[in-house]
Symmetry: C2
Subunit: 316 residues, 2 copies
Amino acid sequence: MEFPSADDIKAAANRISPWVHYTPVLSSQTFNKRFETQLFFKCENFQKVGAFKSRGAVNAVFSMEQARAEKGVATHSSGNHAQALARAAALRNIPAYIVMPENAPKVKVAAVKGYRGQITFCKPTLEARETTLKKVIAETGATEVHPYDNLQVITGQATAALELIEEKHDLDLILCPVGGGGLLSGTALSTHYFSPKTRVVACEPAGADDAYRSFVSGKRVLSVNPQTIADGLLTSLGYFTFPIMQQFVDDVVTVEEESIIEAMRLIFERMKIVIEPSSAVPFAAILENKVNVKGKKVGVIISGGNVDLEKLPWQS
Amino acid sequence: MEFPSADDIKAAANRISPWVHYTPVLSSQTFNKRFETQLFFKCENFQKVGAFKSRGAVNAVFSMEQARAEKGVATHSSGNHAQALARAAALRNIPAYIVMPENAPKVKVAAVKGYRGQITFCKPTLEARETTLKKVIAETGATEVHPYDNLQVITGQATAALELIEEKHDLDLILCPVGGGGLLSGTALSTHYFSPKTRVVACEPAGADDAYRSFVSGKRVLSVNPQTIADGLLTSLGYFTFPIMQQFVDDVVTVEEESIIEAMRLIFERMKIVIEPSSAVPFAAILENKVNVKGKKVGVIISGGNVDLEKLPWQS
């Protein structure tokens, strides 16, 4: 299997730069003092549509040849990828066909429509989503852009870690959340090429630990009925993302739900930034002392900030 | 009355720079598009102790002569100023005597103690606070540092607008919340000296509109039973802050509670930052169309981010 190269990632960074933010890296002296470490938070919550997903979607859409692009792009998603893909397609002025479960939150439906995404609703099962997507693609000739198991998407996601590495040299560690593995495999590739001495540790909710189980067993294990508040991390590793993780990720650790909630709250309180639960998973690993950060320079990828502000997880 | 000079403000910026953050200026393309304007948010929510108050407190504490400083500083406050003053005193290794009402939130008491502040509790009335403070000062010889009606404090607060003006040239407007007027008068002085073509508009909750009434009547009107969710803006203008406002502030506008809540929520949702209700007041003035921002370059001072995360104002 051929993985994206260093040149591919550099090219993606150039390709997407007019359409995405170069996001800031924030620090907290309170956290650094408490954990005797230096943490550098790469804040993709400030990214377009509020998540790193914009990088991969823009890279995939703007990598396509014109004739193929004109037929549009398609995906099934009820989350950040749906918005990111609709937005990327709108920027290139091509159609985006988004299959969404009929119970998708109204706010997410409205967001996709706001970017002129053409929505097809289906029953809220994976099977219905996949069948409906196939039908939409058959009718339109659109190209599927998978949320994570797509090399152009992975290459786009890799640009977040590239920026972090360019800004903060000599990191000892990079901590990254893992769901389907798009962000993680991009992070691991960028680290391998551009900062090879830096270790990459994937952080995962114990209630959705397919990546951990896959990593230790050497076989791709699928998520079965995963349970976690980190709703961006429910998906299983993919055909591409699993072997990239096997080859380039140094360790996988799991964390409990209580730690994710505490980590999220501490980041709101101390750093004054809004993040989604998935983004709190790496910091939860620090709270649980699952990774040794003492005396080290540690990059932490904050994946996004799209959280339901009606009720935050620590509120009773 | 002699006001702080341009040189005073520059000196304060140098004096406090080792101890406070040079805070970032953030933008939102969503807001800029919606209001056909360019908004530049000066983010004092990222400041030490989570609010601009650190600037004035550090400036006051580090301006004192050694002999006087050694006897300590004192104030009555249950809010950000108490923490900011305790922290500033700890940095200079002098005592801070903080008078707090006995019903002050535990988290604020703990924060002051965390900075080695020596707390004296009193009944939760202004009279009890003032009497207790006088007694503490008589016993200790400490110097009172008023939260806003103090020229060193005002000079310190002025450095936030100085940084904004240095970073973003040719602002047409700066919008600033007003409570006791420390931040506002500092902002107005910096704007007068360093960007004299920029207009300064004070933004105030209609339920605590003493600054508005003082501004239009030309007489200092005190707050009587003010009612607003913007709990940092309940105080009345002071002996120093009122005349500075009269001379250097171009306009005062008031906003409704619903707009403050909507503004706060929009800033959480779109900008992904945590702010306190007082910080949302200037953006509420834009939502209410109380200031004309169309086609203009507008600075917006975000005063702080210390908000009760147990319950946000829009939550039922």
